[in-house]
Amino acid sequence: MMANPVEVKGLTYAYGEGALRREVLRDVDLRVAPGEIVILTGPSGSGKTTLLTLAGALRAVQEGSCRVLGHELAGAREAERVALRRSIGFIFQSHNLLGFLTARQNVAMALEMDGATGERERLERAGEMLASVGLAEHADKLPSQLSGGQRQRVAVARALVASPGLVLADEPTAALDKASGQEVVHLLRDLARSRGAAILLVTHDPRILDVADRIVAMEDGRVVADGAARAVTG
C-alpha cells in the first residue's frame, strides 16, 4: 500500500505571538489519496490558504503532523523543505512566468533543479508538456505575447513537467474568464490524472467544483465538511 501524498493530522497554525496570536488552523486533519483531486473551499480567512502553504512546504509546521509525499514536515529543516518542493507542482492565481523567458524556457525552469536532466532533455520535455496543454505552436513566444488563458496553461505545464506527485493550486482561475478558466482546470485535471498526480486546489469559484473527486469545506480554521463532490455542493 502506497502512502497518501498528503496526510495531515492535528495541524494547528497561528500567526503572531502573545496577545496578537491568531490561530488560523485548529487541529486540522486532511488526507489526499494518490491521484485524487481535492478542492478546498470556504470563506476567506478560513485557513485554507495557510493549509495549502503548509502542505507545499512553504511554511514551517508549528504543531501537529504534516506528511507530504512521504516526508514528515514537522521539524523539517529549510533545506529539506526546499528539496521537497521540487516534487510538488505549484499553480498560483497569476501565472508568475518569467517575462524574459519563452514559454518553453519557463517550463524548463521546473526541471533545472533536477541534476539528472540535461539541457536538451529539459527543453524537449518542456516542448512535449506545452504540446499537451495545446500550446505547441506558442512554445517559443514570450509570456507577453500570450493571452491570459494561454499563460495560465503555460503555468500548468510548468507545474506538471517534472511529474510531481502532488499539485497545489490556489485560485488558478481567478484571473480568467469562465471559458478559459474551465479549460485550464479541465486540462489540469486530465493531465494530473494521466500522470497519477494528486491535486489539492483552493478555490472560491463554483464553476470549477465539478472537477473534484472530493470537496473539503473549511471555516474558521476547521474542516466543516468533507465528502464526495456531489454531497458537499449538494
Partner: protein
Amino acid sequence: MNAISDIRGRVREVAHPPGLLASSGLALRLAWRQLWSEKARLASAIAGVMFACVLVFTQLGFRAALFESATTLIGSMRADLFLMSPMTLASFRPEPMPRVRVSQALGVEQVQAAVPVYLTQSSFRNPETGRRRTIQLIGFDVDAGVLDLPGLAPLRDALKQPDSFAFDTRSRPEFGPVGKMFEERGAFPAQIGNRDMRMVGTISMGTSFGADGNAVMSELNFQRVVKQRPGTMVDLAAIRLKPGADLREAQAALRAIMPPDVSVMTQAELRAHERDYWEKGTPIGFIFTFGSLMGLIVGMVIVYQILFSDIAGHLKEYATLKAMGYSNGHLSRVVLGAAVILAFAGFVPGAIASSVLYSVVTDATFLPLHMTTGRAFAVFGMIFGMCAGAGLLAMRKLRDANPADMF
C-alpha cells in the same frame, strides 16, 4: 480512484539538484537572460561600471605617474649609492650638504667615483612670450657620465662652454617651443634666473609633480646661475662602486665614516624615499586613493540600484522559483552572476576607454600614464569586488521573496 493513479501515483524520490558548477552555470545564464531582456537598463548598468572603471584607472594612473615621475631624475642616474642630507624630503627641494663629503666618500675602498649633483628650482624665460616659469635646474660633472638621459651624451662638449645648458623637450609647453626653435636655428640665447645663457641642445626627461620642466648644465654653469649658494655645498652625491663590490658592504663602510649630516642610500632606497614623500608627506597620494574609492562607491551604488530593482520588480517570479524548489543559495548566485556579468561587461570597455584617456592625458600633461597589466588586473579586481559587494547587498532583497505569501 482510477487505475492509472494506482500505478503512477507512487511517492517520488526527491530529485538531486545539479552540482555546484552546473547550477552556477544555470544561475549565470538566468542572470544573463534577465539582464539582456532589458537592454536600456543593462546599458545604464554597464555605463555605471565603466564610469567607475575609468575613474579608478585615471586615479591610479595619475598616482603611479606621480610616483614614477618623481623618481625620473634619480632613476636616470647611473650610480649605486647616494649621499644626501637627511633633512631632504624630496629632491625638488633639497637641503644642501657639505661638498667635502663627496671627497670623503672616495676614501672607502669599494668606491670608484663620487660626483656631486646640484639641484635647484629657478625660473626660465619663455623665449617667445618672455614669461617666466619655474624650472628645475640640474648641475653635474659633465665628464663623469652620472646622468643617463636620452640625448645627453653628444652634448658633453657643448655643455662645457660657459653659460650653456640643455633643455628637456618633454617639459610643459608653457616654456615655449624651445625644442622646435633649436631645431630651426641651432643654439640660441635664453634666460635662466637672471642670467643670459645659451640653449645648446635638447634632452628628454619628462615633467614631474615637482618640476614643470628641466634644464641640465655643468657644475660650473650651475654655480654661475645660482649665485647665492656657496660652492662648498652640494645637494646630492652620486657614487659608483668598483665592479664586483658588494653594495651593502660599501653602504655600511660609507655610513661608518660619514658624520650624521648625510645619509647613505642605495638607488632603490632613494627612490622609495622620494616616493614616500609624495605618498605620505603630501595629501596627493591620499587624494588619489580617495578618488579611486569614490569611483568604486559610485559604481557600487549604481550596480546595487540595478540589481536591487531587478529583484524588487520580479519578487513574485523569484518567490515562484523558490516555491518550485530553487534554494535561496541558487537565487543568490543568480544575483551574483548578474553582478559578475556587469563587472566584465563594464570593465572591458572601461579599460579600453582608459587606455585612450591615458594617451590623451600623457600628451596633454607630459606625465607618463601607461596601461600596465598589473594595474589592469588590480582594477579588474576592484571592479569585480565592487560588483560582488553590490550583489551581496542586493541579495538581501531576495529574502522578501517569500513563496508562502504567494497564495
